[in-house]
């Protein structure tokens, strides 16, 4: 009897432990919820807002579906949720369309003849959300603070700034160590943050700061609440300098899958979906109240050919004839039709047409033409002597290449199309799929022949060129092709310091041409960016930036009366 009693007691204790382990969160949870001081503010704006703006009693709320809100409210180490951060913070220059900029906190700017001294006229009367002024002094403080603390998320854009001073309340002077050709682009990434929040902190304190006041800026919306993994609420800043936001509140909802977002849009639970899977486009277009803008993007995908001199690729892969034949063997249009259901464009040069005049429109892409591809290889002496359908190199080794990609259904389909096409010119490259990290782990050693990969490029062509420079092949660099060429290198440096747009454009075009002929990449497509919104509830979203949730686009949107 006693034994049995002891046994039962033990079980109860263990059960209690288990429950404690599971239920522990209930007690701790109020701590993690929005800070207490936020609570009283909550109701206020909702009542005030309509009074100023007028007709409707209800504040207008835009519900946005996204698959990931952000990692942290702290911009010093937050790498996600850029569209949201831009609603909160301002920059000196803003993006108005892809590779197209407009003045932000800086009204205008001039540059000295040597390209080293930039003078910015800072907008008057701008204040941070807490009411402190954001004049030239505040901007200078913010930029200096960014550099002094080497803020990992954006300091590198202004590493070149050797001196930043406010000459008076509206004039900011920046001295550079070297001229730059893309100042607008660089400044588009550097948020102006208030001294009232960050001024007293040490570096470690900055990196540990989790309070919602990290989200204080001069932007059109104020950060009101964030529940990790669930939702984020932005409240309109009625004092915003450019315009009074037409939407009073924006709520971002985090969904785990794109399909769920599409269903939520159809059900009317949300008003906007930030990415639409191409399989859902038809369903959404068929719905009466849903608009599906199909916009340009800077997303490209490509077939990487290992071009590192110490790489493990076979010698034949260096032969321009082999590379050219491969280009003839890739059916880009089929990739567009099958994998993107038509929502992409076949692309030749690295810089897509969506990036305006940076795109080299003179380049004539190599068409899918296996007959021509075979002719090129026949002429170069690659013959299929054993009749197995695969050509051989002069040393007798067959043209067989290792071809890797990420294990994703669409990627698998694209790689299949590529493999099939290459086979038609007598090149064997069966695809091997692996998870993304395993794939990235192959890069440092350049232990591959071919890889299918993609990039979301920056709006400035610098990044698209940077990935082909020699330094980027070092550990931690971003070169995936291993390409390194002296002439290209010189042009890269040159375009970086060319302030004149036309002169820089010519360089960028030349660089694209060289890459197109050397073929470290066979560039495949430039995908469309597809979003969707409920047009019964909201209208007017801008589409120039390729993202209707981007600051410049979203500020144009209005609730339907």
């Amino acid at each position: 009897m006693r034994n049995k009693f002891m046994m039962l007691m033990t079980i109860f204790v263990l059960l209690a432990l288990l429950l404690a382990a599971c239920g522990g969160g209930t007690t701790a949870e109020p701590e993690v919820e929005a800070p207490a001081e936020e609570a009283p503010v909550e109701e206020a704006p909702a009542e005030q807002a309509p009074a100023e703006e007028a007709p409707a009693d209800e504040p207008s709320v835009l519900d946005v579906g996204t698959t990931y809100i952000w990692d942290t409210a702290n911009p010093a180490f937050g790498w996600y949720g850029y569209t949201i951060r831009y609603m909160i913070y301002d920059t000196l220059v803003e993006e108005q369309g892809i590779s197209n900029f407009q003045p932000g906190l800086a009204e205008s700017w001039t540059v000295s003849d040597d390209g080293l001294v930039w003078t910015f006229k800072i907008r008057e009367g701008v204040t941070f959300h807490d009411g402190t002024p954001c004049d030239a002094n505040a901007v200078a403080w913010s930029l200096n603070w960014t550099l002094e603390n080497d803020i990992e998320t954006f300091a590198f854009y202004i590493y070149n700034f050797s001196e930043i001073v406010a000459l008076d309340d509206t004039t900011l002077q920046v001295t550079l160590s070297d001229p730059v050709g893309n100042m607008e682009y660089l400044l588009m990434y550097v948020w102006i943050l208030p001294e009232s929040v960050w001024g007293e902190m040490t570096y470690d304190e900055i990196m540990e700061f989790e309070d919602l006041s990290a989200g204080m800026g001069t932007g059109p919306y104020m950060l009101k609440e964030w529940s990790e993994g669930e939702y984020l609420i932005l409240e309109a800043n009625k004092d915003y300098w450019r315009t009074t936001p037409a939407i009073d509140q924006i709520i971002y909802h985090e969904y785990a899958t794109e399909d769920a977002m599409v269903q939520a849009l159809l059900a009317g639970e949300i008003d906007v979906v930030d990415t639409v899977p191409s399989t859902a486009i038809q369903t959404l277009e068929d719905a009466d109240n849903i608009e599906v803008p199909i916009m340009g993007s800077t997303t490209i995908d490509e077939l990487i050919i290992n071009s590192h001199e110490d790489g493990t690729q076979p010698e034949s892969l260096w032969d321009p004839a082999v590379r050219l034949a491969m280009a003839y063997g890739v059916d880009k249009q089929q990739i567009v039709n099958v994998a993107y259901l038509g929502y992409a464009d076949a692309l030749g040069p690295v810089v897509p047409a969506s990036m305006g005049d940076w795109h080299n429109s003179d380049i004539q892409d190599i068409p899918f033409d296996p007959v021509e591809g075979n002719r090129v290889l026949d002429e170069a002496g690659y013959l299929d002597s054993d009749g197995d359908g695969i050509r051989e190199f002069s040393d007798g080794s067959p043209l067989e290449y290792r071809f890797y990609g990420t294990d994703d259904a669409t990627v698998a389909r694209i790689m299949e199309i590529i493999s099939d096409g290459l086979m038609q010119v007598g090149i064997s490259a069966p695809s091997t799929l692996m998870d993304e990290d395993s794939l990235i782990a192959l890069y440092p050693a350049f232990d591959f022949d071919l890889i299918y990969w993609g990039w979301g490029l920056d709006p400035d062509p610098d990044f698209a060129m940077l990935i082909f420079t020699c330094d980027q092949r070092e550990e931690g660099g971003w070169s995936d092709s291993g390409y390194c060429d002296e002439g290209f290198e010189e042009m890269y440096v040159e375009q970086g310091i060319t302030v004149d747009h036309e002169a820089r454009r010519q360089l960028i075009w030349k660089m694209q041409e060289q890459l197109f002929n050397d073929r470290p990449y066979i560039v495949l497509t430039n995908a469309k960016n597809i979003q969707a919104y409920n047009s019964d509830r909201f209208v007017g979203f801008g589409t120039e930036t390729g993202d209707i949730l981007w600051k410049a686009a979203l500020l144009q949107a209005k609730p339907v009366e």
Partner: protein
Amino acid sequence: MHRSDYLIRKIGFAIATLLVVIVFNFFLFRILPGDPVKLIIHSPRMTAESQERIRQSFGLDRPVWLDMEALKQGDLYSAIDTQFTAYLRNLLRGDLGVSFSTRQDVTNLLKERVWRTVVLVGVGNVLAIVIGIVLGVLAAWRRGTKLDTSILLTGLFTWSMPTFFFGIILMILGRGHFPIGGMVTPGLHPEDGWVYWKDVAWHLVLPTLTLTILYMSEYMLIMRSSVVEVLSEDFILTAKAKGMNAFQIFRDHALKNSMLPMITIIALTIGYTVGGAIQVETVFSWPGIGRLMYEAVQKRDYPVLQGTFLLLAISVILANLVADLLYGVLDPRVEPD
């Protein structure tokens, strides 16, 4: 005497398992290809110094488990001052570390997430257990009838249904009637009391229904076969011979004995509750442990992964222990040798 030996042996075994899990947990994620720093460092333009600073701040500049250089120089202390010993040291202090990607305290992250999963999977399981047992008993009681066949067929059908697919079907059917994703309408907090809980319950409908229907069949099928087996035992015949009526036999002899395998299954399921239902959480965007774990794997967020795996291991080990011990109490045949 016997019993306490059994108790000590079982508890000892549980602790040993836990220790193995703790060590295994550390190395498991480090065997995976891919450098977490590579995923923390997002820009090619970041200087080498900033990259090094990030490495240091996460302790990733130290060797993984043994500093060979220091060992050669005979500096034993430095040789074992590694990521592994730091992990053990912090664990002993109850510190699960800081997430690589959000820099939030992992213990807090887990606390915030775990109750959400427990609510979801808990409600789903309780419903599944109750309905499953009732239907299982019913099927066994009316064995061979149309009722039995239809219960059995439904059970097999739902049991073989892929969670993801089934969830999406329910989502489409329930669209417009019930919320499709999330746990609560933004802006509501537990302090709002009744309104908040009503809203959570509303959001629970679709995911819980999915879980209940999918889990139910397992309980149902096992309960049915267990009852059927017990009904063919000799002691049932004896009871009949004693003149008991069918209902009495069923209630007093058959049911109690058929519950034994159910105890194991229920206890094990409770253990897995914390791990939740990654798929259901994903389909219905439920912000629980399952999704946390999924995202952490994608981002190679070692501290979060270690934390969630440890939590899972502890709950499974505890639940197993409970099942073992309960068995010892409930079934006199489980007597230690």
